[in-house]
C-alpha cells in the first residue's frame, strides 16, 4: 500500500532511533503542500556528482576496481549549474539524507516536469527498507541538446510503500528484528555523495554458483594496433592460424 501524505508525516515524528521512523533531512518547505503530494515527497538535487571518465582502455569491466575507475568527482555549489551533454548519463545524489523504516520500501521517480525536458532520473529506482543515505541518482539526458542541472532544485519524487500484509503491520516495532539490509556490508550504507558501483570480481561472483573457470581480460593482454585496440590472445591465435595455413 502506498503511504499517504498523512502517513508519511506521522512516520517522520518521534524518536529518531525507532525502527519505524522515517527520516528525510534537510526537508525545506514552507508548508506541507510545498513538497508533499497526496502520496509522495519531492526531493532536491545535491551538489556532488560523478561524471563518466574517458577510459584508457576499450572496455569497462564491472569488477572490484570499478568504484574508482569509471568516474571523476565534481562539486557544483548551490547557485551554479552542471551541463549534462546530450545522450550522456551522470551520477548525482539527493540533497536529502533518507532513512526508511524497517517495514517501508520506496521508489524514486523523475518529477514529471523534469521528465518533460528529456531528463530521466533513476533507472534502478527501488529502495529497500532501512536504507540510509542520500540516494544516488542516475541522471540521463536522453535529449539531443545539452541540459543544465541546478543543485537544490526539485528533481525527483519519493513514493513510499508499506511492506507485507496486515499481519506484518500488526507486529510491534520492538519485536521487529533488524533486517539484513540494515547491515552496512550488504548495501550502500549511509552515503552522503553519489557512489560508484561496488562489485566483486566476476570470478568471485560466479564461484558462488559453482563456475570455476571464468575468462577475464587483463589490460596487459591488449595492445594498440593501427589506431584500434586488439586482444593479444586473439592476435597470437590469428598468427598461429596464418602460420599453419602457410605450411606445405
Amino acid at each position: 500500500m502506498v503511504l499517504s501524505k498523512r502517513e508519511i508525516l506521522t512516520r517522520m515524528k518521534g524518536e529518531i532511533d525507532r525502527p519505524g521512523r522515517l527520516v528525510i533531512t534537510p526537508l525545506l518547505y514552507k508548508d506541507e503542500d510545498d513538497v508533499f503530494d497526496a502520496d509522495s515527497v519531492d526531493l532536491r538535487l545535491g551538489c556532488h556528482f560523478l561524471l563518466p571518465k574517458a577510459l584508457d582502455q576499450p572496455f569497462f569491466s564491472p569488477d572490484k576496481t570499478s568504484i574508482n575507475s569509471l568516474y571523476v568527482r565534481a562539486h557544483i555549489p548551490l547557485g551554479h549549474f552542471l551541463v549534462v551533454p546530450a545522450h550522456q548519463t551522470i551520477l548525482g545524489a539527493t540533497l536529502e539524507f533518507i532513512k526508511l523504516p524497517n517495514n517501508v520500501s520506496g521508489q524514486v521517480l523523475t518529477k514529471s516536469s523534469v521528465a518533460r525536458t528529456f531528463i530521466v532520473v533513476e533507472t534502478a529506482p527501488w529502495i529497500h527498507p532501512e536504507y540510509r543515505g542520500c540516494l544516488t541518482l542516475e541522471i540521463a539526458n536522453v535529449s539531443n541538446t545539452p541540459v543544465l542541472l541546478y543543485p537544490g532544485r526539485r528533481t525527483c519524487q519519493l513514493i513510499l510503500m508499506s511492506v507485507g500484509g496486515p499481519d506484518d503491520e500488526q507486529q510491534s516495532e520492538a519485536a521487529v528484528v533488524h533486517s539484513v539490509s540494515a547491515k552496512s556490508g550488504t548495501t550502500y550504507f549511509g552515503p552522503v555523495y553519489p557512489e560508484g558501483p561496488k562489485f566483486k570480481d566476476p570470478q568471485d561472483d560466479l564461484l558462488d554458483i559453482g563456475v570455476t573457470r571464468v575468462s577475464t581480460l587483463r589490460r596487459s593482454e591488449l595492445r594498440r594496433q593501427k589506431g584500434c585496440w586488439t586482444d593479444e590472445a586473439c592476435v597470437q591465435q590469428e598468427s598461429r592460424r596464418a602460420r599453419r595455413a602457410r605450411l606445405p
Binding site: E15, I16, D17, R21, V23, T25, P26, L27, L28, K30, R73, A74, H75, I76, P77, L78, H80, L95, F97, K99, R132, C134, G152, A182, K183, S184, G185, F189, G190, V192, Y193
Partner: protein
C-alpha cells in the same frame, strides 16, 4: 633604438610570458574546479594583476623607445613586479589545489562566518592553501599586503582583496573533518596579525602590551624594573639589550600561540582541544616534550592548562568532564601538571630563563584570555544549547543517520561539531557492533570506515544547517 633597449625588451618579454602563464593558470583553475568564495576573489585579483602588468610593460616599452632615461625606471619597476610575483607564485598553486573536493568546504564556510563576528574582522576572508608539510599554518600576510600596496601604485586596476587570510592545510587531511578544526588556531594567527598591526592602540591590545611589559620587568628584575619603560633599552648594555629583545620576541611568540588556542576554543569549544590532541598524537609528540617550552611555542601542557581554564570559565568543562575518552583524560592530565615541572630550552638547547616562563604563565596568560574574550563576545557559541541537543545529535549517529537540523537548536553547527566529536571519540564501537556482522568489533579497517562515516555525516549536517538556516532566513526576511 636607444642603447640597452634590446636587453630591457628581452627582460620585459620574459616577464610578460611569466605573467601570461600565471594569469592563464588562474583562469583555467576557476573554470575547471569550484572554490570557496575567497579563492575565486584571489584568482580574479591575480588575473587582473597579470593583465595590468602586461599593459604596463607594453606602455613602458613604447615610451622607452622614445626616451632613453625611462629604461632605468622600467628596470626598477620590473624588479618590483618580479619580487611581488615571486610571493604570489608561492600562493597560487597551493590555492589552486585547495578546491572544493579537496578541503572541507562546509567547515571553511562556517569558520569564515564566525570570523566575521569577531570584533574588527567584519568582511574578512580566508584563502585555503594545501601544503605538503604535515602541519597547519597561517602564512603571514603583512609583507604581501605591503608589497601589494606598492604594486597598486603602478597597477591601479588590480587591488589586493582586503582582509584576506592565508590558511594552510596538510593535503592529506583535506577530506577529513575533525583534524581540520585546527584551522581555527591558524585563523587566530590571522586575527592577531591583522588586528595588532592595523590597530595596535586598540584598548584590548594596549592592555596586553602593558601585561607584556610587566612580564619582562619581572623577568629582568631588579635592574630592568628601575629603568623607566620608555627609556629602558637606552639604559642597557649591548648584551642585555640583545637578551631583552630576544625575551620580547619569545614572549610575543608564546603570546600568539596562547591567543590562537583560546581564540579557537572560544569559537568552536572543546572540539578544538580534542583536534589539537589528535594532531599532537599524529605528530608523535612525547610526554617529555609536552612540558617543554621552546622559543616558538609554549609547552603543550601550558597550552592545555589554559584550555581547561577557559573551558571552565565558559562552562564547557562541565559538559565534557565525564567523557570516557582518552583525549579528555590526556587534556586533564596535562592541565594538572604544576608550573614547576615546565622546562624551557632555547634553540641551541641551553636552558632558557625560568623567570620569563613563570612571568608568562602567571602574568601574561590571564591578559591574553581577557583579550580573546573581548574580541569574541559576539562569536561565542551557546553551551546551554549544546546541553539541550547533544543527546539528540548522538542518538542520530547511533541510529546511522545524519543529525537533523529541523530546529534552531539542532541547527547550531558548533553544537553539532562538539556532539559529533564526543561521539567520534567514544561511541564508534557501538555503531560498528550494531551495523556490522558479529565478530568484527575489533576490525581496524571497519573502525576507520565508521570514523570516516561519522565525519562525513557531521560535514553533511553542517552543510544542511547552512542550507536550512539560509532557507529559514529567506522565509523570514525575504530574499537578500
Amino acid at each position: 633604438m636607444p642603447t640597452g633597449l634590446v636587453d630591457v625588451l628581452h627582460d620585459a618579454s620574459v616577464l610578460h610570458r611569466f605573467v601570461d602563464f600565471i594569469g592563464e593558470y588562474c583562469r583555467q583553475q576557476t573554470r575547471s574546479q569550484t572554490y570557496v568564495g575567497s579563492a575565486a576573489v584571489f584568482f580574479r585579483y591575480v588575473e587582473q594583476l597579470a593583465a595590468g602588468i602586461q599593459d604596463e610593460l607594453r606602455r613602458e616599452i613604447e615610451r622607452a623607445t622614445k626616451r632613453t632615461p625611462r629604461l632605468a625606471t622600467l628596470r626598477r619597476n620590473m624588479r618590483t613586479y618580479r619580487g611581488y610575483l615571486r610571493l604570489l607564485h608561492a600562493l597560487i598553486k597551493p590555492a589552486a589545489d585547495a578546491h572544493s573536493l579537496t578541503i572541507p568546504g562546509p567547515l571553511v564556510d562556517l569558520a569564515s562566518q564566525q570570523l566575521q563576528k569577531v570584533a574588527g574582522m567584519a568582511n574578512s576572508r580566508l584563502l585555503i592553501l594545501l601544503t605538503p608539510e604535515f602541519m597547519y599554518f597561517q602564512r603571514p600576510h603583512t609583507d604581501i599586503k605591503s608589497q601589494a600596496r606598492e604594486i597598486e601604485g603602478f597597477i591601479p586596476s588590480a587591488s589586493f582583496p582586503p582582509k584576506l587570510g592565508f590558511i594552510e592545510i596538510p593535503y592529506s587531511q583535506g577530506p577529513s573533518f575533525f583534524t581540520n578544526l585546527a584551522i581555527y588556531h591558524e585563523i587566530g594567527h590571522f586575527v592577531y596579525e591583522e588586528l595588532s598591526h592595523r590597530n595596535p592602540s586598540h584598548r584590548a591590545f594596549k592592555a596586553l602590551a602593558s601585561a607584556k611589559e610587566r612580564c619582562l620587568n619581572k623577568a629582568f628584575s631588579p635592574r630592568a624594573s628601575k629603568v623607566p619603560a620608555g627609556t629602558r633599552n637606552a639604559g642597557q648594555t649591548g648584551s642585555n639589550r640583545q637578551a631583552f629583545a630576544l625575551a620580547e620576541k619569545i614572549l610575543e611568540n608564546w603570546t600568539q600561540e596562547i591567543f590562537c588556542d583560546l581564540f579557537a576554543l572560544r569559537l568552536i569549544g572543546p572540539a578544538f582541544s580534542f583536534a589539537l590532541i589528535e594532531m599532537i598524537g599524529m605528530l608523535g609528540v612525547s610526554r617529555t616534550q609536552c612540558v617543554t617550552f621552546n622559543t616558538d611555542h609554549p609547552a603543550p601542557a601550558c597550552r592545555f592548562a589554559e584550555h581547561v581554564k577557559l573551558l571552565r570559565d565558559d562552562e564547557w568543562w562541565k559538559e565534557i568532564e565525564d567523557l570516557q575518552a582518552e583525549q579528555r583524560q590526556f587534556l586533564q592530565e596535562l592541565a594538572n601538571i604544576p608550573i614547576g615541572r615546565y622546562e624551557f630550552f632555547m634553540d641551541d638547547s641551553r636552558r632558557g630563563p625560568r623567570r620569563l616562563l613563570n612571568a608568562f604563565v602567571t602574568d601574561l596568560a590571564p591578559a591574553i584570555k581577557d583579550l580573546v574574550c573581548q574580541l569574541t563576545t559576539r562569536a561565542v557559541p551557546s553551551v546551554e544549547r549544546f546541553r539541550r541537543v547533544r543527546h539528540d545529535i548522538q542518538k542520530a549517529f547511533r541510529a546511522g543517520v545524519v543529525p537533523l537540523t529541523d530546529t534552531p537548536d539542532r541547527r547550531d553547527p558548533v553544537c553539532i561539531i562538539n556532539a559529533a566529536f564526543c561521539f567520534y571519540l567514544t561511541a564508534v564501537t557501538e555503531v560498528v557492533k550494531r551495523f556490522e556482522e558479529p565478530g568484527h568489533e575489533n576490525d581496524v579497517a571497519l573502525h576507520s570506515k565508521w570514523k570516516n562515516r561519522v565525519e562525513m555525516w557531521t560535514m553533511k549536517a553542517i552543510e544542511d544547517s547552512q542550507v536550512m538556516q539560509r532557507y529559514k532566513d529567506v522565509q523570514r526576511y525575504g530574499p537578500f
